[in-house]
């Protein structure tokens, strides 16, 4: 393969932030192309700054490059200025590692984190000179795959993706490599042959091997067209994270990216059971990394990268059994010799324990602290199973302000099932109380409420719920905004309901949306996650042009026994479990965290013969959702054990 670097180089003197396209990261692999090795191009369909820190992509990059029979490089969506330059001279999409043309790889695999990147996938394929539709590709084209959370309903992308990996990718990429290697060795020119072989891999879904039948507007069946293709594709789950201590050499970019720090994943999965949270539902069960391994990964990572910040990542890091010990040993560790290392916990739970940890972590610079109560009233929080009592929330906020924080940010959703105006306005009420608490300690205390429209997601109890319309979300947001305006010290930010609408439409959409996505892309609708490029009219126009009804796809409540476009895929959760949880939700009944209470057989463990891997059998000091243990003031862990010198220098 020939590097495109010398053609690309002159263009880079004319574009914004050219360092995004040069590779050269510390930790980047030097690919060795040997005969028969399967070459992978791992693609993040958004900018380098957003894509580079993605841990999933980095993990697979390492795993593949460690294999003797595979090589992996990376690519990211070029920004519009470079795209224009590339198109002007017909320069194809390239890998950033060694600047190979994208179409020269055997496999291109996209990380799909959200619905709004779909059109970028098409754009990347087109830039790669690969036909965007599966049916137009032949054996000379790469196999186009995808993984990531948004692929749990991949149907809207069925026309464009040859294969989709469901669940944890660590094992899937190895199996796919084996299949592709065998196909390459066979010299076969029959693409269907390799697709059928891929469909045999546990966790791999090949959309073109299924026939979706619609009657009137409804999906009535979605069945395999060959007998050897599974009628239900099960997700893949790695049983024990300890077996996968990746990334071992996290990439250190030369230019600024969104999360420029060392990341160590402390556990995967979450069973707090928040009903809106697809990430929690589809990644069950909880699999903790052994605390010792976490420590080693931090030590080695800091030493190797020179980063002075480490983020301990998971869906709710304060729940990690060894959290205080790991933080203590990281802050106390002199052995790295790299100077002081700070720790950040990107996902904070709302309780005093968390505030105690945060206080220790943010000595000195206590500018802002963020909590996510998600809903404004206790009733609403019972519906969504985010069981934070008012007392807990106020105690946390009081803890924050009394310990020197000046700004508190609170995340909420609106457009939730059964939400009344009282619930919406409860957000302002709650914010007001928080400002009052803050003002006791600091005259300039400020509170910001950030409000996003709720998008019902597949494989959650809310998958039956009809999303609020743009108009209804706007009405609620303005209602709330008017109330917030009356409260000094309270600010409000919100997401554009039009973007929420597009996410919602795609999130539970079916294959017919493929034409819509293609039309939006052809009309120039790329980078839809970027407000300066997002245009809702492109989407509604494309829906109309294809004779599809926005109302039906987005706003309609689903029926109990309705066939969902993702029913032939299994994220582990029994549909009847989800239905019961949906009914419980409407009855405002909470559900406990099965990590510390008996299993209620949602299917995520029971279906696959695996179980939680949790070091501590008791809930953390902050209390467990629904166990009735609320963190009394006495339990406000002040965590002196974390002490380190103030003003580290």
């Amino acid at each position: 393969m020939d590097s495109l670097w010398s053609t690309l180089e002159p263009l880079l003197t004319r574009v914004e932030k050219p360092a995004r396209y040069i590779g050269c990261e510390d930790g980047a692999a030097t690919p060795e192309y040997t005969d028969g090795a399967v070459s992978w191009l791992l693609a993040y369909p958004d900018t380098y700054e957003i894509g580079l820190p993605n841990q999933g992509l980095q993990i697979l990059y390492e795993i593949l490059n460690e294999r003797p029979d595979a090589v992996a490089e990376r690519t990211y969506a070029p920004w519009t200025d470079l795209e224009a330059e590339m198109r002007a001279i017909d320069l194809p999409l390239f890998s950033v590692d060694t600047h190979q043309p994208a179409s020269s790889f055997d496999v291109i695999a996209f990380n799909l984190s959200s619905e709004l990147v779909y059109t970028n996938v098409l754009n990347c394929l087109d830039l790669a000179h690969v036909p965007v539709r599966c049916e137009d590709r032949d054996h000379t084209h790469p196999l186009i795959g995808a993984g990531g959370h948004a692929t749990f309903n991949p149907e809207p992308m069925a026309d464009f993706l040859d294969w989709i990996g469901l669940g944890d990718g660590e094992e899937i990429v190895g199996d796919v490599t084996d299949v592709v290697a065998a196909w390459k060795a066979s010299g076969s020119t029959d693409r269907v042959e390799v697709l059928r072989a891929l469909a045999q891999v546990e966790g791999v879904y090949v959309p073109s091997l299924y026939d979706a039948v619609f009657e009137d507007e409804r999906l009535v069946s979605i069945d395999p067209i060959f007998p050897d293709v599974p009628s239900v594709v099960e997700k893949r789950t790695v049983a024990d994270l300890a077996d996968w201590p990746y990334p071992k050499s996290q990439l250190v970019p030369l230019t600024e990216v969104v999360h420029d720090r060392l990341s160590v994943e402390v556990f995967r999965g979450c069973t707090r059971g928040c009903r809106f949270c697809q990430a929690g539902m589809i990644t069950r069960p909880v699999r903790e990394r052994p605390a010792d391994q976490v420590r080693t990964m931090i030590q080695e990572g800091v030493r190797r990268t020179g980063y002075d910040e480490v983020a301990l990542t998971s869906l709710s890091t304060a729940d990690f059994s060894g959290i205080t010990e790991v933080i203590k040993s990281t802050l106390d560790d002199e052995s790295s010799g790299c100077g002081d290392v700070s720790v950040s916990l990107p996902s904070l739970r709302v309780d005093a324990f968390t505030v105690g940890i945060a206080a220790e972590l943010q000595r000195g610079r206590r500018s802002g602290l963020t909590f996510a109560p998600e809903a404004g009233t206790w009733r609403m929080r019972q519906v969504i199973n985010k069981l934070i009592s008012e007392e807990d929330l106020y105690a946390s906020v009081e803890g924050a302000f009394s310990q020197g924080w000046r700004r508190v940010k609170l995340y909420f959703m609106t457009g939730l099932p059964t939400e009344t105006d009282e619930d919406t306005l409860g957000i302002a009420e709650l914010g007001k109380r928080c400002v009052e608490i803050g003002r006791k300690y600091n005259k300039g205390a400020s509170v910001t409420v950030s409000v996003g429209g709720f998008v019902p997601k597949p494989f959650t109890p809310f998958q039956w719920f009809g999303q609020n319309t743009i108009e209804e979300l706007n009405r609620k947001i303005y209602l709330l905004r008017d109330e917030v305006k009356k409260i000094p010290g309270l600010q409000m930010k919100w997401h554009d309901p039009k973007a929420t609408f597009v996410e919602g439409m795609s999130s539970r959409g079916d294959r017919r949306l493929g034409k819509v996505i293609e039309d939006v892309w052809r009309s120039g609708g790329t980078f839809q996650e970027w407000s300066e490029h997002f245009d809702v009219d492109r989407w509604t126009d494309a829906m109309t042009a294809n004779g599809l009804d926005v109302e039906w796809f987005t706003y309609r409540h689903r029926e109990e026994n309705e066939l969902f476009p993702w029913d032939h895929l299994n994220a582990g959760l029994h549909k009847d479990f989800l239905w019961h949880d949906w009914r419980d939700s409407l009855n405002e009944v909470g559900l406990e965290d099965c990590r510390w209470t008996p299993c209620y057989d949602c299917g995520a463990c029971t279906g696959y013969g695996i179980e939680h891997v949790v070091a501590s059998a008791t809930p953390p000091a902050g209390g467990s959702q629904g166990t009735g243990q609320s963190p009394g003031r006495g339990q406000e862990v002040s965590v002196q054990l974390l002490a380190r010198p103030v003003g580290a220098s």
């Binding site: 002159p10 050219p18 396209y21 230019t255 600024e256 010799g337 790299c338 220098s649």
Partner: protein, 245 residues
């Protein structure tokens, strides 16, 4: 009471190849990480978000190469200059090579303060004779006006004083630059306000387009003495500077 001065080392390094596309700010972060990895006792600033004490002098524009970049490192305890190039180079990106180091003694002006002029090699696509004539006209002119934008306001500056010297020549055959045919070696003053190489290239309807630029030297006062920032009195560079090219 004044605190005793902390020990300082001045380094010279290159920035060549792909890494030229990183910004000045990017390089500062890269240096911070590398210094931590080298476990050097770098000093930190006071305050809530302490920063490693590294200073770099005049920013090299993104996309330019250089064989003459400098950094001053301040340490909490003395660090011998000897050995620093070998220690740091492997910890820096490909194309960034530390070529010399010297300990700074006594009161030394910062790089920002002491650099008076810079020398550049600018590779352009343009006819040798035409570019030569263009450069001669510039040097013969009494005034050279350019329009600059600053803080949203445009103003016209006479930059003739800042153009110290320019020479136009064919590109050496043993080091071709793809897309370029002509090399301009130019000396530009940095005080009172630096004339930047791209500003220089844009004066008076230029008969060329820019392909690649490389900073060759930074000179400290007096102008014309061609003293480089490592030449700070008694202290001697511990490395042979010829490695820079």
């Amino acid at each position: 009471m004044t605190l005793p001065r902390k020990p300082q080392v001045r380094l010279q390094y290159s920035k060549l190849g792909k890494v030229r596309f990183t910004s000045h700010r990017d390089m500062a972060r890269i240096w911070e990480r590398s210094v931590r990895r080298a476990k050097l006792p770098i000093a930190y600033s006071e305050g809530f978000s302490p920063r490693a004490k590294l200073s770099f002098g005049l920013a090299l524009p993104t996309v330019f190469e250089s064989v003459a970049e400098y950094a001053d490192l301040t340490f909490d305890e003395p660090v011998p200059a000897e050995g620093l190039p070998e220690l740091l180079t492997p910890l820096l990106p490909v194309g960034v090579d530390v070529v010399a180091a010297t300990e700074l003694e006594g009161k030394v002006e910062s790089l920002q303060e002491c650099v008076m002029a810079t020398e550049w090699s600018l590779f352009v696509d343009g006819d040798l004779a035409e570019v030569g004539a263009w450069a001669r006209d510039l040097l013969a002119a009494d005034s050279l006006e350019i329009t600059r934008e600053r803080k949203g306001k445009t103003r016209v500056d006479d930059v003739r004083e800042a153009l110290l010297d320019a020479r136009v020549q064919p590109i050496a055959t043993d080091a071709p630059v793809i897309g370029a045919s002509t090399e301009i070696v130019v000396n530009l003053a940095t005080k009172p306000r630096a004339l930047r190489p791209l500003e220089f290239l844009g004066i008076n309807a230029p008969p060329h387009t820019f392909v690649l630029g490389r900073r060759l030297h930074q000179f400290i006062s007096p102008v014309g003495a061609r003293r480089d920032p490592l030449d700070v009195g008694a202290a001697q560079a511990t490395h042979d500077l010829s490695r820079a090219s």
